[in-house]
């Protein structure tokens, strides 16, 4: 009796151990089984780019795109773009990130408002670009915003270009170089459908969505859901879920009064693209007219000097 009771004890102990081990293994495998049998076939990631392109918003989108490439459950990417562009360097980062992602996954862009300048730069390498008749695409151009020349009083610098980065002629050449890269990239990415020459593209016009389709800057009319369905289709996803990766909200600093008030648009434009408190040459791929403090000041100087 004693012997058989000890055998039963050991058997029960072994069963407990094996049972626990089975639960652990089963719990680990279950999600994959669920995913293979009952769950969606994969995810379509919607990467947002809303608002002006700054190094901060571009970094978030670049990180999202990397995540999409690394995460095997994400099988396609949709770019939800509503941006007038922004910093030239950040726009180029986005262009390269989208292009790199496009080598791995289907990438479809949906212009949900405006994809102008740097915003269009980001959309250009997508496999397809969807627009609506009222959305806007284009503005393929660059601008350089140059601070006043000379050394401000109270400063000692070690060279004539320390304060202003370069002479006006050099900035002009650099802007021209960025324009060539931008225009050349759009021509290369859209070469199959584009009806515009490099010269026509360089006018930096903004076209309506319908015009954009006619001119080959976009592919067809459709909303965000059409773009998602198209991306899922391209990834052979019968069932899928949508994961939205949002543009980070503007940092809390402006809300704390560290940026000037909103009634002065020039200050906010400057604060958006400038290093805080440092007036550097800014290269922008931004659609629209800048109304900065500097232009206002220049205007005042001109008027005062001639009246």
């Amino acid at each position: 009796m004693r012997r058989s009771r000890g055998f039963l004890d050991r058997t029960a102990g072994l069963m407990v151990v094996l049972g626990v081990a089975g639960l652990v293994v089963g719990a680990g495998v279950a999600p994959f089984v669920w995913g293979a049998v009952g769950g969606p076939g994969g995810s379509v990631a919607v990467v947002e780019m809303h608002g002006t392109i700054t190094s901060e918003t571009a970094k978030a989108a670049v990180d999202d795109l990397r995540e999409a490439r690394q995460n095997e459950s994400i099988r396609a990417v949709v770019l939800d773009i509503d941006s007038p562009g922004g910093s030239a360097a950040a726009s180029e980062q986005l262009y390269l990130a989208v292009k790199r992602t496009g080598q791995e996954l289907p990438v479809v862009a949906a212009v949900t408002g405006m994809a102008a300048s740097g915003g269009y730069y980001m959309a250009a390498p997508a496999d397809r670009i969807y627009v609506t008749p009222a959305s806007a695409v284009g503005s393929v151009g660059v601008r350089g915003v140059v601070p006043p020349e000379g050394v401000p009083p109270g400063e000692i610098v070690t060279g004539p270009d320390k304060g202003t980065t370069a002479t006006t002629a050099e900035v002009r050449r650099r802007v021209e170089s960025l324009r060539q890269a931008f225009v050349g990239s759009v021509l290369a990415e859209r070469n199959e459908s584009l009806e515009l020459t490099a010269e026509e593209l360089s006018y930096a016009k903004v076209y309506s969505g319908a015009q954009g389709v006619e001119l080959g800057l976009a592919d067809s009319v459709g909303g965000l859901d059409t773009a998602i369905a198209d991306a899922a289709d391209a990834a052979d996803l019968g069932s899928y879920e949508v994961v939205r990766m949002e543009t980070p909200r503007p940092s809390a600093l402006p809300g704390l009064g560290l940026r000037s008030n909103d009634t002065d648009p020039g200050r906010s434009a400057e604060a958006t693209f400038d290093y805080r408190g440092v007036d550097t040459v800014q290269y922008l791929m931004l659609h629209g007219r800048l109304d900065t403090d500097r232009s206002t000041a220049t205007r005042e100087v001109i008027i005062n000097g001639t009246r």
């Binding site: 690394q70 060539q180 008027i303």
Partner: protein, 370 residues
């Protein structure tokens, strides 16, 4: 508890740990975090060897006009002219180096405000002792008396140079119009000597010239070539104008510089546009930027600047012209005090300008300038 049971318990614990670790390793090797195996995309337009634009040659220096005798050049700043001495420095330097005198005509103590009734005769008196007269981007129009004086000055051999940029300079690359109500800034400051140029059969056009393909590293930097061998284009093959307005001339004026295959911003029409013209002793150039220190030595600009300086100081002007004003301008001032002596507008007054109806017919309607 027997020693064997303890050993078995430890063995079971070790086994459980091994199972968990091995399971984690197996599952992790299959589904664990993957590295980004994507490859660097090829950006066809990012070839840095191809991207860098060629700088416009900037290796010359403005020469000397080499005039035989010292002359006096007057630069008008009395009409709200958008000209700073530094902006035309290379021209002034060339003249001064060659021994000529350069005066700024400020119009006396109050003429610059537009409220002087004696500015006209002051200008004529100044021109009487001058050999050349330079007008750069005036904001206010010239009076009829002034135009008559300048015309007489030119007829007598005095050299007149008129320079103006396009009205409403625009350097942005956007295509949408400026929002209504937002002034474009310099458009309120720099003007064109419209009525003065018209007296010599020259008209400054609206809008700026641009060239999207062959340009000086910016669409607004257009090249201009000589239209014919003249004093002004001697030795000049290609001039860079950074903000050029087209000129329209009548039969008496001849084109000096023309920009070929450029387009005009206001009409978007491509064509050949005259940017510098000469009518006898009067020369007009639809650009002021070629005189700026940073631009005056690019391409063949230094030759053109030298030629312009030579043009100013090689005239043979008769003495005492323009003659003092005749009896049509009575001394001592008229009954009306305050309004500037502006020229009559081209269109008839709309009636709101004369509140009491007693104004003499010759009294010009006050204008908003100034």
């Amino acid at each position: 508890m027997e020693r064997g049971d303890v050993a078995r318990g430890v063995g079971a614990f070790v086994l459980a740990v091994l199972v968990v670790v091995a399971g984690t390793a197996v599952v992790g090797s299959v589904t664990g975090p993957t590295t980004d195996r994507s490859t660097q995309p090829t950006a066809p337009a990012y070839d840095t060897g191809e991207l860098l634009p060629t700088a416009v040659a900037d290796d010359g220096s403005v020469g000397s006009p080499d005039a035989s005798e010292a002359k006096t050049v007057v630069v008008d700043v009395s009409h709200g002219n958008a000209v700073e001495p530094a902006a035309i420095g290379p021209l002034v330097d060339a003249l001064v180096r060659d021994g000529h005198e350069v005066h700024l005509f400020t119009g006396g103590s109050s003429a610059s405000t537009g409220f002087s009734t004696t500015g006209t005769s002051e200008l004529n008196a100044t021109l009487r002792s001058a050999d050349a007269f330079v007008v750069v981007s005036p904001a206010t129009p010239y009076t009829d008396d002034e135009i008559r004086g300048i015309a007489a000055f030119a007829d007598a051999g005095g050299r007149v140079l008129m320079l103006a940029d396009p009205v409403g300079r625009s350097g942005s690359g956007t295509s949408l119009p400026v929002p209504i109500g937002l002034p474009t800034g310099s458009s309120t400051a720099a003007g064109q000597p419209t009525n003065l140029a018209a007296a010599f059969g020259i008209s400054f056009g609206s809008g700026y010239l641009y060239d999207m393909t062959e340009n000086a590293n910016n669409f607004q930097g257009v090249f201009a070539e000589p239209s014919g061998g003249t004093l002004l284009t001697n030795g000049t093959d290609r001039v860079v104008l950074r903000d050029a307005a087209p000129l329209v001339t009548d039969g008496n004026a001849t084109a000096v510089l023309a920009s070929e295959d450029t387009a005009l911003s206001s009409t978007r029409k491509a064509g050949d546009y005259t940017v510098a013209a000469r009518a006898g002793n009067v020369t007009a150039v639809g650009d002021t930027t070629f005189l700026e220190p940073g631009v005056a030595t690019t391409a063949d600009n230094e030759r053109f600047v030298t030629n312009v300086a030579r043009f100013l100081v090689t005239g043979e002007k008769a003495e005492g012209v323009p003659a003092p004003a005749g009896p049509s301008t009575p001394p001592g001032g008229g009954p009306s005090i305050g309004p500037p002596t502006a020229p009559a507008p081209p269109t008839a007054p709309n009636g709101t300008g004369s509140p009491n109806g007693t104004a003499a017919p010759a009294t010009p309607t006050p204008t908003s300038e100034g």
